[in-house]
Symmetry: D2
Subunit: 343 residues, 4 copies
């Protein structure tokens, strides 16, 4: 039970994805992404996003984000992001490594989401050789506080970014959860709202290890294939990654998985919020629930075998995460356990 | 048939490894390598190598090599390697990226293997601030020409390296093939002969995507966990990689797979060498066969549907690679096809 | 008159320093810092700082800071600094380049100075592989707002830094101005208050181009000579830099120069503050005066030939800088010009 | 006497250059290269090279070369150079640092000069993501063995480089010595022969510390100003560097200085070659003399107070260097000393 609600990456892969991997394990196939699974994935994602996309695969969100940023920021570039963003807090400097030293400019807008107006006010120094050059705005959908950017928020941020000649990157580690929450199409939530490059996560929502960097403007790919190879993320047997994502975005697997996770989060959020000594830190809009828990409650739950995650958001709140396969009973059990003492 | 003998990475995964992945896909598990599969792998590899090892996993040989070198070379370091080595020719600058700019010093010893005496003669500049500092010697076993370092060669190279205060790295992308060829134990071929860090490849010999960086001296690990995370190679669902390698080194799977590949290579090598217009470029000591093929033979085979690999070794020879599941009949067919025209 | 108060780097070199360069231009001398001027400088600085120091020279403050940080932070390190600090705003990513990707963590304490208590609260993540590792606290003396850290502030910050196993770096681009302002000894303002490494600036206060990286703990030098050479800052004819700094810290040259600059700033500050439409943005404690100027005043002064510097501190205030040779009459003229219109 | 012939960087600055520095030390001047000395230098160099050039200044040859390469090679680029080239042997990894990890491909053509035909044969891998991409050919004039590329050699190398879509960089640390040796114009020896970017050295031939990176095709400058600043080489009081180079290339100062140095080298070379136990390692074509000296001769000279330089060219020969102010008597004395024992 240990890591039960600690993260969505403690879960297994969903059956559709696992079957796809098993099916891909047959016969001889070109290596390094020249295989048919990879070709089909590119077509599939072009369908899903309703535009001709270019796709590069990786096996971790950290690699995906850092590589995507390296395509968009020069070595002397500046990347605007929220101070709570994964690229700023949880990737041990991978963005700096892969970009060759670009600087992250952390912002402190409320709710974990960047505010377009504030962004517009702080962007400065373009053309001044003393200043790292404004290059990218990176937003996370759904974001690190479990809330979700509304379409008009994404559009306004993109507009400001493009006005300042910057690109827009979306960290979509929990893209499907955001998608389900908004109820919009993948195209609407990305390029139609101004996103230039998306890192689409599969791992947290049912894959074994599969992430995609998606360029909505093929002309922005440039020399990216070399950066991709050089990062150690161009796998020889790429079919084993492509096949995961093929299954993931087919037949609504990702939507179904995310819908379940979000519904479970809602249930958990509502249950926790009912206790007088527990307060939601943020509204629950995807599959992450952030609450302020008194120390005695944390101790009580840890003693009960829950491995309470206090490390997220610079320790400002406690996190519970639900997943594609969260069992309703596990939520009931948790709430019951709390009721026994605090009900 | 296309890529039939082009590389061993065009093959599928072997059943034992695939089953292990399927079995790992169950229940909740700690992420980022804190899972039980990863713990068991560390124990298993300590058994296999007869010493207490530290293990870090990646999903590509390029990442493994580059990361291993980053643990051994400072940013101003110099890494001695053969000019045909994978790190020098096929990783698009990954070693330079991950080490932060260390310089590879390519050597041209015969047969693709570094010569200890030559190494001793060219190492210079230690302590001189103008000169990149001698830090690592990297050898490949089995090496890029398909030949194999003998134990005494490894021992002599290690001795020279250590005399000059350098570490010894072994690129073991085809470690098992070298092991079978030599008929020695994993311990003998590595740390007992002076190797400090091994990058053990699983992918080419039956895994989906699994490579291990193995430290034989735990005190050399230092801050490597941070370099590992920062490179994007610390997977959240690491059990899916650990489980592959667990199966791979258990029950002689890797040995059986490599033995078959090597035997098939021997057969192919012998058959090709029997043609008067075909000459072996190097003796066939593992699962790679390098031959000098006249242009008309290359054209003939390409027309027959073989995708002849002329890109290895800077184009100096044509490569055929056998694998854990190479079908004897495919070799017979190839030789028959040649006999029809050149017999 | 153009750049009159724009910065202290628009000034010429002082006679004592210029004479030293002329005197150094004689005969043959060992290159790359093996010359006698460099040896004498090391001794001289050891005297001045009352401890045995190690010294490395550069020709720009950007290089000095970035190199100093590269000695203190690993590639996955985190450097705490004020968001207005030169390393964060004006070095176009040099710290990221020279450290190999360390991350600056900008703080927003008031008056441009880091607050020890706030620092203690935000340092986190030590040992957690997902998080860049707390490595350095960098403070600027005198700081970017023209104010000065008091000794007890430096001591408290150092104490917190060391408690968290971090090093303390002082950016001393205007070190002498801070020294004069505080009225303390060089030793008191640095290592006796916990500073580990100082970048001592000479250029702004009377040198042509001369900066020193000073290690107060020789054991922290480690492999720094290689980083120094690799950065292109190990000059062959180093005597031309050493000789500048020798003259600079001898016979109270730096103190006299800074005293004059600070006095002129005080005069200018007092004069500006007397106008009802001009407000000091920060107290004037060294040789920089920051004021809030209405747009019409800025336009008026620009038309009068002053090249008003609006680019500092992210545009939050207008800057006037005095120097070692600022002419009292230039201040009077400026104030008169203002009086004519706003008096 | 110690370092007498050890290098040309042990010498003082010539009077014309020193006077220029003294003259520049007057009044207020825009910083960071916006001064009039820097503007005049750009015009002057455009005159000298008979084309409109873009100029960036540094204070060391290492910085110049590394920065120039960073303008021409992507992070995954490959730079062809001679294995004895300064960038490969004497810059402690600066090219790797400044380029962000580009790989130097050392060649072993005879006499220290790259051979065009050999270059053509080894360039490979363009477009192949596994291979660092051919980006730059770097040649040194005069080169590290003291010989000089003839115009047709430069032209052929440039032709091959451009055929493969690579740029041509010339390391001109001893540019004037090569110029005098060839008797050609600066334009002929550079862009008219296909050179794209030159690093022009002043330090070894009479400056204090002054090097210029010269772009012959302004459109290749691109974002270089940011790379320049980020490297710590954009000095605030740039006039002190610009003024040196202004004087250096004016009134034939550089030509006179180099002519003297070359003449002295010829004299020394002839004298040394007359001894039966001393052999020239390379023909003496500029201001460096390379000889094979028996161990007893080296010891004899060291005992006599000469600091014999055995470290160049990987220790393959002993180097004597003459300079703009080498005293004829010092050569006579050296030869006399040898005659006393070996005459």
């Amino acid at each position: 039970m240990n890591a039960l609600f600690a993260s969505d990456n403690v879960t297994s892969a969903c059956p559709e994805v696992m079957d796809a991997v098993i099916n891909a394990n047959s016969g001889i196939s070109e290596s390094y992404g020249e295989d048919e699974w990879s070709s089909r994935l590119k077509e599939k994602l072009s369908d899903v996003f309703e535009t001709n996309v270019e796709v590069f695969l990786t096996v971790s969100g950290t690699a995906s984000n850092a590589l995507a940023l390296s395509a968009l920021a020069p070595v002397y570039g500046k990347i605007y992001c929220h101070e709570l963003s994964h690229i700023n807090t949880d990737e041990c400097g991978a963005p700096e490594l892969f970009t060759g030293g670009a600087k992250l400019n952390p912002m402190r807008s409320s709710n974990g989401r960047i505010n377009a107006k504030e962004l517009d006010e702080i962007v400065r120094g373009s053309g001044n050789v003393h200043v790292t050059q404004p290059s990218v705005v990176s937003i996370t959908q759904s974001c690190e506080t479990g809330t979700v950017y509304q379409l008009d928020e994404i559009q306004e941020i993109s507009k400001i970014a493009h006005k300042h000649k910057m690109s827009v990157h979306m960290d979509g580690a929990r893209f499907a959860n955001g998608l389900v929450s908004l109820g919009e199409s993948p195209a609407e939530m990305t390029w139609k709202s101004g996103v230039d490059v998306l890192t689409l996560g599969g791992t947290k929502n049912g894959c074994l290890a599969a992430e995609a960097i998606i360029f909505f403007k093929p002309e922005m790919v440039g020399n990216f294939p070399f950066l991709h190879k050089r990062s150690g993320q161009l796998l020889s047997k790429m079919r084993f990654i492509s096949s995961q994502l093929n299954a993931y975005v087919s037949n609504d697997v990702w939507i179904r998985n995310a819908s379940h996770a979000n519904a479970m989060a809602k249930k958990l959020s509502k249950g926790l919020n009912a206790f007088s000594n527990i307060n939601l830190a943020y509204p629950t809009e995807s599959n992450e629930v952030f609450v302020h828990l008194p120390r005695d409650v944390i101790d009580y739950l840890n003693n009960a075998g829950y491995d309470i995650n206090e490390e997220e958001l610079d320790g400002k709140a406690v996190r519970f995460v639900t997943a594609w396969n969260t069992d309703q009973n596990d939520i009931t059990n948790l709430l019951d356990k709390l009721s026994q003492k605090y009900g």
